[in-house]
Symmetry: D3
């Protein structure tokens, strides 16, 4: 169920019976010459809404801008500073507890948000308000992702390209896939971003001229559809697993 | 132009030539038995996107959840605490300056956000980063709004009803309009919310049993369309006016 | 009773029996060529002390400086940044709860403080510490104010002039009343501060050359005295109403 | 000159020529059975206003409530939490720089504020905004204070008693001076507040049953007047000394 | 050079010529039944001091307590909340810039600090104060670590055991190595900590009964010595590389 | 017992039976031409560890950098800004309560930390988490310190010199003791740091050319040993006294 389409009287039954919510989060940041800035939040929203549809759990509106200062050199990248992002997500989530929500899945599609969502999740769990965890679609189907693509760059690569080809083909610049590959970097290793054991870079612009990594040319909408189907199934199972737990079992363990 | 649909190379021309952005903001909060929780953010997004389309100025993604603790007693109302909201909007906006944006219109459709947007706008202007102002559609066409409806309640009343009938008729529960009127309060005056000069209420629930004020039964999609057209025209003119100013003239005046 | 004139043993009875306090707040900011910077805090203090005298409720010392950055271009305007002001008022008020105060009236005479006091009041009420509300004298007698003056400008106009003529006639520069009128702006409408529905100004200096609005020449001490008497009566009634309520009834309503 | 009595046009000359301001700060806290809670802020205000009168430097309104949690067990003690107090004083002072003030004397009469004022003064100096220092009347005339009284307790003792006898004799409960002495503690040593080198107390209530230390019975208004005269002279000299310095010489020294 | 052993006049030459500093950071947290709580900070300090000795660069005192709430269920684990830790490290580091340090290596030996050090490093770099990067010894010699041990658990495993055997053999409980292995978990995979793509755990206690992972029984002091030598060599090279860079080249790249 | 040398199972008995902890804190700041920057934290650590050894109470790792901006002009002085220091110490201490620690001695050897530790101690006590107090070695043996030295300067003087001669004679530059005396200031009085009752200085560099006060030439290791022995005995007695108290008796007294 998508909360924003409902009226308040209609939501009464849900809060009486259920305590799970899905919160989609992404970014609005450069994804190379072939993908729109919306890439991450489109993907997050698609997964969260679809899983909510299939399972009946509640989905909230999407947080469209995340922690992306590392992409700022590229036109149009939007971002919120990390401490502000954490506090915003915390307040956004914490207030759901007023209606009885006590377990949340952050359906996230931007790597730069992960650590911050974990920190917020800890805050909410350590004070026993809520159990909130982060989920990224590609982490739920790692073998499939590896099987489908030759050079599976972590940002703007073929896995994200295929996903947008599946979800919003009108937004993929198909004629720029080769440019994306040739103007970027093939892989993290190829970027040579670690020196003597230290990550010496802070920004995407330190590593890649056009902002992306990977070989986008073997991406297809079909591969996107296959990944979407398998990953959304994982997400639905995660929600059901969450729903099955006793709240006490989700809270921090006692001192030894 | 909607920033999230573009790629970073495509945005180069805009930032080279222009410095205006529209930022839509709303809420996800109860709007009575007849309107969806999305009401405010749907309206804000519709105005901002349409004005961006007509004028060519840049529109950002929408901030869907705002400062709505005063509606929390009703199922599903989401909110972010006021200090967190201000900091989030400030960071969200301030970082646009990195790309050269120096004037912003907050296209806002939730009354509870107004003071906070003014405070953020002051921060950004006082340190001479940016000139950001807040705009609400109904404040731009007050006479028309007054003319069209009998009891023009400020929350969930006929003006918002008509606007959603125009924008997303599938989300209006037409069979609940009379309930909305009868279960709520006709007007702010009727709510009797001021005692001896002091506003003694803090929450909508202090005044109205079903969360809304006004008489929703004379709302129609046609009235919505008429208001939308007149107000979006105001917004376009505001953007053009902003664009015409010299940045120095938008900054704080000098000490006397 | 004025708390600061008492000794701690003398206050024992009050805290044993009563739970109401009045907190006066104003500003120290320009009020045109005819009124002292003290205008707002003098008025707030006069009302709070008089009501405390008449009713026996406790009055605290005055907070003399408020949120006035919008007047800063004029010599001597003092202000505290808004987040700091809110936290200061919150701490100032919250600590009164330690002695058993659970309902507070902010006797405020500066419009720029209102929203901040409402926000602080919400914090204190939402965590069920206290019920604190804001009161402004002119909002308690709107018809009388309208009746008495021709052009009732909101800042430095005849209503504030008359009040200072009544309270501290030595501080009114009677020979500057015409200058005040002629060098300022007659009304908010005349100031033309709204463009296409948006308030495009942030500072008083954006609208008025000498810092004030209204026609000060029909102000008299007698009118001041009349307004004072009627408004202080409203304030006393408000305190009695507060005192009559059960604390539970002042707290937020339960979730529907 | 007292800023709050002036109009903005009248203040123009001062800011054109001068850069010194006096800021009075005190507390509203218990001072035993014989002195009003106002004691500290009355004293601070009296010194600051008198010095401003004599020298012509600017005096601001008084900050009436300070950092007094250590007196809270006694009825009516008001306080603001320390971090909030620091930020409030910082904002209050920093904004004076907008008008050209670059040196400030905190005319303080509450020991519990001292460290916080020093911390704020450092912030303002380290970023080269302003040079602000703290002054307490009794520290400026230590020999005289020692000469005049037998048991010169630090809180509510004879020096403060004499000062209020001089400044506001109507507020001294003369018939409670012996009670004050007998129900309190003669001196800090007598209170035995240090154990093995550590101050083991946090609150006045840990040491003294009626909240005060010292022997109040040899206080007189004449002694108060003598102390006032000598100390205000010190304060005037301090202001003149400040005025004579070059701003560069008041800023932090360079790195060695 | 170890800064704390020097006097201020002796340090003059360093700051005149050099701009690199090493800052050791660790934790004080449970490391199973066989290793002391000091494990991480001992390792960090040993590396930083040794590299400073060999290269002549400056080493600061060690930050002994880090972000370890995930180990708190085990006796004695100390920690500082994440936002506080970040601000502390930022202030600690930023103030070094006053003496001319503009490049810093965080010699860190606690995984839980990594993301926070990256965030602090970004703050310092984005405002162009300083270039600070994080280094962990085992990340600099991944192949060697993999070669030396069978089950190389990430916390309290053989690599940390061998390192403490080398550095402080008196602190290793050699008779508890088998207990450590048998009472813990062999590997992250064995812990089964990911469900449907989501890390569902927050605390070490969620995964391992005795707090550690890996097989500690093939750890030896010789292996520790070999790792220490190879890794310290990496660290020295990193410092020299840093020293060779132009400061401009370490700052963020310009906008495209 | 030193917590960092223990394993978590070994600590079980302590937390089951005891609730006292010692936390050493110092600074890393200039101490003249004769003493290392480590002076304060070496002293604090020596006292805390020795008392823990003798009494069996728990000692934590040392906080090596404190609030020392007033020494920054001298090479190598490190510091953390005061608000950050307070929050760090608070979080560091507060989290010990999770293991059952409810009384803490801050074994501090840097005067600049004192007020901040008192403020933190108040926070922890006022919310009834813990009773934490500050102890400085020289305050526990004031007569002895006065007896031993001619000019007992408060910073870098003979008492600190003798203590380092005792604890770490290798770090004292014996050939610079006369320089230290001659290049510094004999006493606080001699520094003339107070004008008309106001402390007009903020930095050590405002008063002393080489950073120290006092006559270091009559310091000896024997005097250091004598002071150490007497003061550590005071510290042990303080710990035993703390241990003997009922927790309720350490908490704030009730309202009168």
């Amino acid at each position: 169920m998508y909360i924003a389409d409902e009226t308040w009287p209609e939501l009464g039954d849900y809060f009486a019976d259920e305590s799970v919510a899905l919160v989609p989060l992404g970014s609005t940041e450069q994804h190379g010459p072939h993908l729109p800035l919306a890439t991450d939040h489109l993907i997050a929203e698609a997964f969260a809404r679809e899983a909510a549809e299939r399972t009946g759990y509640l989905c909230t509106p999407t947080i469209n801008v995340g922690v992306s200062p590392h992409h700022r050199q590229f036109n149009g990248t939007m971002w919120v500073d990390a401490p502000v992002f954490r506090d915003y997500v915390e307040s956004f989530t914490r207030n759901l507890a007023y209606h009885g929500i006590d377990r949340v899945v952050y359906v996230n599609a931007h790597g730069g948000n992960v650590d911050h969502l974990r920190e917020v999740g800890r805050r909410l769990r350590d004070d026993e308000t809520m159990y909130a965890i982060e989920w990224m679609w590609n982490d739920s189907i790692p073998e499939l992702v590896d099987d489908l693509f030759e050079q599976n760059g972590p940002h703007g690569g073929p896995k994200e390209t295929a996903m947008i080809q599946h979800l919003r083909s009108d937004l993929v610049r198909e004629d720029r896939l080769e440019d994306a590959r040739d103007g970027g970097v093939a892989s993290v290793d190829a970027a040579g971003t670690v020196k003597f054991g230290s990550r010496t870079f802070y920004d995407a612009a330190d590593n890649t001229a056009n902002g992306v990594l990977g070989d986008q040319t073997d991406a297809t909408a079909e591969k996107g559809a296959q990944m979407f189907e398998e990953a959304v199934d994982q997400l639905c199972q995660l929600c059901d697993w969450l729903d099955d737990q006793r709240f006490e079992d989700l809270l921090p363990k006692a001192h030894v």
